[in-house]
């Protein structure tokens, strides 16, 4: 009781000043729906917190300077080598600060995990349609966070000024220079003169420890606040509707679970830092402009950019005394630019095509939005081809194939593979929908064979249970396109087309609508699987037309369309 009194005292003191009792109570009771994919964003959040913690430790010892020193420290292999202070202080963190190497490695692993978790989280959001109204703003914030994460990572792993990351900076300089008109100036201003100069490390340090993390922190805060304000989406299920949210309350359940999850994330990263070496800069040596090692790879999230630079053909124009280095600025800017722009516009494109202006709080199952899922898989495939091409020298070496062949394959695959992926995915989705419809119509096979008095054998099926039924029947709801006055819902050809549906754009929209909403129709009879015995296992007629209860009368298999009264 004394603890209660103490807590009560603190609570009263705070409430007298901040008026929290009611709002905080509501917050404590906030409902968190549960699904394993909802943890992906949490991994990103916790990686970010771990990055802030370990990064703060590293700043205590790191010297962001390109001033030259001759090394005489603990790593004797580099004794007497002249190097930048940045590199020397990174060696000191690794070999002379207790726990320094661990913090460096955790920091680097956490950065990779941060980016991987963001990617997985975005993929989940996309495939379940969780970006739809009212969550478009958070989707855009997420894309911005991903972009900032890329820059933050690039600047971060370039800070030690080692040979590997120095080559990355050299590539960055080359990419900047290739930009028409302003490129050379941008490169000179960023590097403070010709490459490598002596300014780039301190400048990247400021960006890496202050500006970009500040922006990320602000956007993460906004991201979370909007999420709390709008409440979570939920996976489809019994009792889960667009007007409720079902799950466990934040206090004590979610707090304890998410706390545990933070510890898991930190624990796994600590073990990774202990047992999995990452970025051993002492093996690469300090940066110099003359040397380079084979098999150089950036961190995985830069791999796609690297692959695009490798796969793009050697196209270049020299016109009126100016060089258009298409071979550089197109692959450097186009794939990622198109990916981010396309992702940012997608929710609005989908809204325009489907005419959908409703709020959506129940997630789609990916199969139930076949076109969206297929587009997503196609984009991931494109990304994957370029990403693999970013490691084509490693692949060629491991699989003992010609280095040039890997590039030739990628030059074809980056176009062909996404198309195949699109078609396959769409077919698979529609097939899965058919399976769902079959389950709804005919129930679950029990494996029990029964002989009827007529001598006929039938397999007994059991209706799907309520929970599965709710899931199977969950489909995205499309409002339908605006219809002209007088036109019925099924006869858009007649009557005057609605505004926005006229002309070539309107026609295209109609066609896109049909592509995007393509689905296997659910049985119209919502209670179609209520029969214990479903005799007609494979009627070709869509049972969408079967009236309720007719299944019991039309028991004869294949002797006519089912549901004939």
């Amino acid at each position: 009781m004394s603890t209660n009194h103490a807590l009560e005292g603190v609570g009263t003191w705070l409430d007298d000043r901040l008026h929290g009792a009611r709002g905080v109570r509501v917050l404590l009771r906030k409902v968190f729906p549960d699904h394993w994919t909802f943890l992906l964003g949490e991994i990103a959040l916790y990686s970010f917190i771990i990055l802030l913690l370990t990064g703060t430790f590293l700043t205590l010892f790191f010297q962001p300077s390109m001033g030259t020193v001759v090394y005489h420290g603990s790593y004797t292999n580099l004794d007497g080598v002249s190097m930048s202070r940045a590199y020397a202080s990174t060696l000191n963190i690794s070999f002379d600060v207790r726990g320094g190497l661990l913090m460096r490695q955790i920091h680097h692993w956490a950065a990779d995990l941060f980016m991987a978790a963001i990617m997985a989280h975005m993929i989940r959001i996309f495939f379940t349609g969780a970006y739809r109204k009212p969550r478009e703003v958070n989707w855009l914030i997420g894309i911005t966070l991903f972009t900032l994460g890329l820059l933050e990572g690039l600047f971060g792993y370039s800070l030690p000024d080692d040979l590997l990351s120095g080559a990355g900076l050299r590539i960055l300089e080359g990419v900047l220079q290739s930009i028409p008109i302003v490129g050379t100036y941008v490169a000179f201003f960023l590097f403070g003169g010709p490459f490598p100069g002596s300014d780039i490390i301190p400048r990247m340090y400021m960006l890496h420890v202050l500006l970009i993390p500040g922006l990320i922190l602000a956007l993460v805060t906004a991201h979370l606040f909007i999420m709390v304000f709008q409440k979570h989406t939920q996976m489809p299920g019994k009792g889960r509707t667009n007007t409720n949210v079902v799950g466990q309350p934040m206090y004590p359940y979610f707090m304890a679970k998410t706390g545990a999850f933070f510890f898991f994330t930190f624990g796994i990263l600590a073990l990774a830092g202990a047992f999995a070496q990452i970025n051993p800069i002492w093996l690469y040596g300090p940066y110099n402009a003359v040397a380079m090692s084979a098999g150089s790879q950036p961190d995985f999230y830069m791999g796609m950019l690297e692959g695009a630079l490798r796969v793009f053909p050697a196209w270049q124009w020299v016109v009126f005394g100016h060089t258009f280095a298409f071979n550089v600025f197109i692959p450097a800017l186009l794939p990622l630019g198109a990916l981010f722009t396309g992702a940012a516009f997608w929710p609005f494109i989908e809204q325009w095509v489907t005419g959908d202006k409703l709020e959506h709080h129940v997630n789609d199952r990916p199969r139930n939005a076949p076109t969206r899922t297929a587009i997503g898989v196609a984009v991931i495939t494109l990304y994957g081809v370029l990403w693999a091409e970013g490691a084509n020298d490693i692949l060629a070496n491991h699989f003992d194939i010609s280095l040039y062949l890997t590039t030739e394959i990628a030059r074809v695959a980056w176009i062909v593979a996404p198309i195949i992926a699109y078609i396959l995915t769409k077919r698979i989705c529609l097939g899965l929908q058919r399976k769902d419809v079959h389950l709804l119509e005919h129930g679950v096979e029990t494996g029990i064979i029964r002989q009827l008095p007529s001598g006929e054998f039938i397999e007994e099926t059991r209706p799907v249970d309520e929970e599965s039924r709710a899931i199977l029947e969950s489909r995205p709801h499309y409002q339908g396109l605006p219809r002209g006055a007088g036109a019925g819902p099924e006869e858009s050809q007649e009557g005057v087309p609605a505004p926005g549906m006229r002309g070539a754009i309107g026609k295209a929209r109609e066609r896109l609508y049909n592509v995007i909403t393509e689905s296997v129709p659910l049985p119209a009879n919502g209670h179609g699987n209520g029969h214990a015995i479903e005799g007609n296992g494979h009627g070709d007629q869509p049972s969408a037309v079967v009236p309720s209860g007719s299944g019991q009368s039309g028991a004869g298999p294949d002797d006519g369309p089912p549901g004939q009264p």
């Binding site: 709002g23 906030k30 409902v31 070999f95 002379d96 207790r98 726990g99 190497l101 661990l102 590539i171 080359g174 220079q177 290739s178 930009i179 490129g183 050379t184 100036y185 000179f188 201003f189 590097f191 003169g193 010709p194 490459f195 490598p196 304000f229 709008q230 009792g239 409720n244 079902v246 799950g247 004590p252 359940y253 679970k257 545990a260 933070f262 510890f263 898991f264 624990g267 600590a270 073990l271 830092g273 202990a274 047992f275 940066y287 110099n288 402009a289 003359v290 150089s296 490798r310 793009f312 050697a314 270049q316 020299v318 060089t323 280095a325 071979n327 709020e359 020298d393 040039y404 590039t407």
Partner: protein
Amino acid sequence: MSDTNDHGHPGDHGQPGESARGDDLMADLAAAGQPGEHEGQPDGPQARRRVIGTPAPAAGRTMLAEEPAAGGAPRELPADPENLESAKRAERIVAACFVLAMLAGLGFIAAYVIFQVHTVNNTLHSNLALGTTMGVAFLAMGVGATIWVRRLMPDVEVSEERHPLASTPENKAAFAQTFEEGAQTSQFVKRPLIRRTLIAATVPVAVAPIVLLRDMGPLPEKSLDHTVWKKGTRLVVYGTNRPLTPADFSTPGSSLSVIPEGYAENDNALAKAATTLIKFRPGQLRAPTVMNWTVNDIVAYSKICTHLGCPAALYEQTTHHILCPCHQSTFDAARGAQVLFGPATRPLPQLPLTTNAQGFLVAQSDYHEPVGPSFWERS
């Protein structure tokens, strides 16, 4: 809410009229200053609260005295898990996990004190000890907390209502009115002179910070067109800074990185001037290699890749291919370093070579074209 479990928890007994709470932060914020709104909602007894998967309590359970919630308000969450036996076991496991975490945490501190660093091996041991204890401490806490939630906290599922995010028409209208009135009162709308001069005033202020960035670096001017190689600059071996005579470099097929003498510590100079020296057998070098720029079948090409400036560091003797490890641009060293494959568009520039009076290899001049990646001003 057909699955609302009404034979549920001890706390539920005798509370038929419990009112559902509008557990809704947004509504709460919106309704601030309208006390009682939530409590007054006339929802049914079962609304928005479900307790799923909790079978009827064991006979003995109902005998346990329940501490009445403060103020007599009905419980919203059950107080105890269904299976107290299992909970007791779980409690011990959780406690064991937390003890393990505590020991691992102490181990971390001990490892910090015991394991010193300053050599590669010591660092390895320190890293393993610190990382393992840290990882175990966190994982044990995570495992403990997870078991705690799953086995000790009664399983509940609650439901709360969503409200449309859009404001009510009245609120929207009120906002519009407030906004409109403010705009009118400020005179911003009525007095275009103020409005326009204010906009005019902000433009230079907005541009000024961009102007401030001007001193981040010098202008490129012609600096990318030249390197530090000059007529008579001696080639020295990268790393040893030793000058070379053709006789020092007489093994056909070998290659060397060379730099201009006196620039070994100048990264800015080397970033453009780094050069690859390759010795061929007589007759192997073909056009478009400039033969006048070679000495005894020794040819010098820029080491800076014309794609993105990485050192094109890999040389394959048998095929005479120079390969850039960054993006695999491949150049034919026997034929003027022409591009054979990859994204590079231009051959590696050739450095004109000769020997000086002492017989050392020197440059005849600078490269005759800019080295390295393409840039806008390059013609």
